[in-house]
């Protein structure tokens, strides 16, 4: 269990982590999602006692990490930045780690086998690929067989096979009843692995809920309508009791109905249709809307920054502005993959 209460970190005038409070529970994979620079790595470093919080607190199993006598047997972490000296062999790197926490040396061979590095155990990590370096970091995290695991952007730089391996590893660790806390800046990645989701933006908590709930709240479905006669179309559909929203490129988004109903309404009035397609808003889009809002709230002076954001309901009616990066291509994330993996 990891508990954060009001955790805050300021670097000069930038607030990297802003009053974060949440709990990471055992038995599930908790995804820690936020755009680059949101404060994920800083939060994880503070949990590890590497960086000192400006205020607030981070506890692992009810104590400060710095108080743990054999921390590697309690918490294993893969940090974002490399933390291996290139000139010391993989085996010796794990060996000194093991010795420092009274972990038997045979465990070194075990974890090397577990991550598939047995062949290169006597090689120097300076010659390792990104993926091999990542595997060595994971071996170090698993060394003490800890009940709490943290992975900061573990899939970065991995090939598809490695990504698949890490996803399964995290699920397996959670299934064993461990606390698994994994960060990513990609919603799609989280959708595939996380059971619980914590979203932050600009250091602030934006959402903290089960993945399933996040999906059901955010998988808005609608029908995209494209027409050369938007005025008439709106009148016809509104008269037919359809709720409308503006889509990108002058399209109309019809909510709370299906394509068949719209087709019939339009045909009855003879309006020209160029497109009529059912859409599923992607989680990626939901995530971008969520984080775009922090940007907006912070940009406007006088608005109560962060007020009501964490509680959530207001971000379900996002502002009409498109998220940064231009129009979002919807339906990129296929939620059904979650089970198939």
């Amino acid at each position: 269990m990891i508990e954060l209460t009001g955790l805050t970190k300021r670097y000069g005038s930038t607030t990297a982590v802003d009053r974060l409070s949440f709990t990471v529970r055992p038995g599930v994979v908790t995804g820690f999602l936020g755009p680059n620079g949101a404060g994920k790595s800083t939060t994880m470093r503070m949990i590890m006692g590497l960086d000192k919080p400006t205020s607030g607190d981070a506890l692992v199993d009810g104590t400060h990490y710095a108080k743990l006598k054999e921390p590697l047997t309690r918490v294993g972490a893969l940090l974002e930045a490399r933390s291996v000296q290139g000139g010391r062999t993989a085996y010796n790197h794990l060996l000194w780690l093991a010795q420092s926490n009274d972990i038997p040396a045979r465990r070194v061979d075990e974890v090397l086998g577990l991550v598939g590095l047995t062949e290169v155990a006597r090689k120097r990590p300076s010659g390792f690929s990104l993926g091999m370096g990542q595997r060595l970091g994971i071996a170090a995290a698993l060394l003490g067989d800890p009940r709490i695991l943290m992975f900061d952007e573990p899939v970065n730089g991995l090939d598809p096979e490695g990504i698949h391996w890490i996803r399964n590893l995290m699920k397996q660790l959670a299934a064993e009843g461990r606390t698994v806390f994994v960060s990513s800046h990609l919603m799609s990645e989280m959708a595939l692995t996380a059971d619980h989701l914590v979203v932050i933006g600009k250091g602030q908590l934006l959402a903290d809920m089960p993945m399933a709930e996040f999906i059901s709240q955010n998988s808005r479905s609608y029908v995209r309508v494209r027409t050369p006669e938007p005025e008439r179309m709106r009148d016809v559909l509104t008269a037919g009791g359809v709720h409308l929203a503006d889509g990108p490129d002058g399209t109309i988004e019809a909510e709370g109905t299906d394509a068949a109903k719209i087709g019939e309404l339009v045909a009855a009035e003879g309006v020209v249709l160029h497109e009529l397609s059912p859409q599923q808003a992607s989680l990626e889009e939901a995530f971008m809307r969520l984080t775009a809002q922090t940007v907006q709230y912070q940009a406007g002076p006088g608005t109560a920054a962060g007020a009501g954001l964490a509680a959530g309901p207001n971000w379900q009616q996002p502002p009409q502005t498109t998220a940064p990066g231009g129009p979002v291509d919807v339906s990129k994330v296929d939620v059904s993959q979650k089970e198939g993996n």
Binding site: S83, Q85, R88, L97, S100, N101
Partner: protein
């Protein structure tokens, strides 16, 4: 106590499993011994008997230490800064979050290794030096003060390593640490030692103070410098410098983010 033992063994594994520590310590030995022998040859054959002043054969055999200490400085600096330049400090502090314990163990292991190499270096330098000086000039380990001076030379090298480690914990960057330590001991200290006024101050620099422990006779007689302290006083001054450097390093490690 159990924790200290295992952190010590972990630090020992760290230190012996990278090439740079082996190289720098080997270089400390070779540089000191080789230059010491050459220096003794120079003294024996090139300097006429009348110009030898009050000759200290023990101190003469340590003529290579001023160069050899540069290698031991590299050792001390690299042992600490390699943790920072590689990012491994994060792994180290994850494994041993008690920062004082980590620093203490690393310093003990580093200084211990430097002391072992330093003592071997000192004894080899001494005996080879005496051999080269020949029976007319040399002394023996049994003469008063000689054993103290030889062991002192080994201790001096270990203290130099400790000082460098303290500075490295403080500065974290290898370039910054070298940039301060190497010119200080290779140039500044020597130059100040030659300027009459500055000499009064320069004699309190760690290397100048510490090196009095390697001399059997009064340093004043050998180098023509009036020191305000004897060999033990000099050693104490150097120890104070080391303590200050380690304290500054500890304060930094304790307060700054890793």
């Amino acid at each position: 106590m159990a924790q200290l033992t295992r952190v010590l063994s972990s630090e020992w594994t760290k230190i012996k499993t990278v090439r740079s520590t082996v190289w720098t310590l080997a270089l400390t030995f070779l540089t000191t011994v080789v230059i010491g022998v050459l220096f003794c040859l120079l003294v024996r054959y090139l300097i006429p008997a009348g110009e030898r002043g009050v000759f200290d054969p023990t101190f003469t055999s340590f003529g290579g230490i001023s160069m050899g200490q540069l290698a031991v400085i590299c050792f001390g600096v690299l042992v600490v800064t390699s943790e920072y330049s590689s990012g491994m400090i994060r792994a180290s502090l994850s494994a041993v979050p008690q920062r004082g314990l980590l620093m203490g163990a690393k310093t003990l292991v580093g200084v211990g290794a430097a002391l072992a190499v330093g003592l071997v270096t000192a004894f080899v330098s001494f005996f080879l030096g005496q051999l080269v000086l020949g029976s007319e000039l040399n002394t023996s380990i049994g003469e008063p003060g000689v054993l103290r001076a030889v062991i002192g030379a080994g201790v001096y090298l270990a203290l130099m390593a400790a000082l460098s480690m303290g500075v490295a914990w403080l500065l974290r960057s290898p370039m910054l640490s070298f940039g301060i330590l190497i010119p200080l001991f290779f140039l500044v200290s020597g130059i100040l030692g030659m300027i009459p006024r500055a000499r009064d101050v320069a004699q309190f620099l760690p290397d100048q103070a510490g090196s009095t422990i390697m001399a059997v006779g009064d340093m004043g007689e050998f180098g023509g410098i009036d020191r305000a302290y004897g060999p033990w006083g000099g050693l104490l001054i150097m120890v104070l410098w080391v303590a200050a450097a380690l304290a500054a390093g500890y304060a930094t490690l304790k307060s700054r983010d890793a």
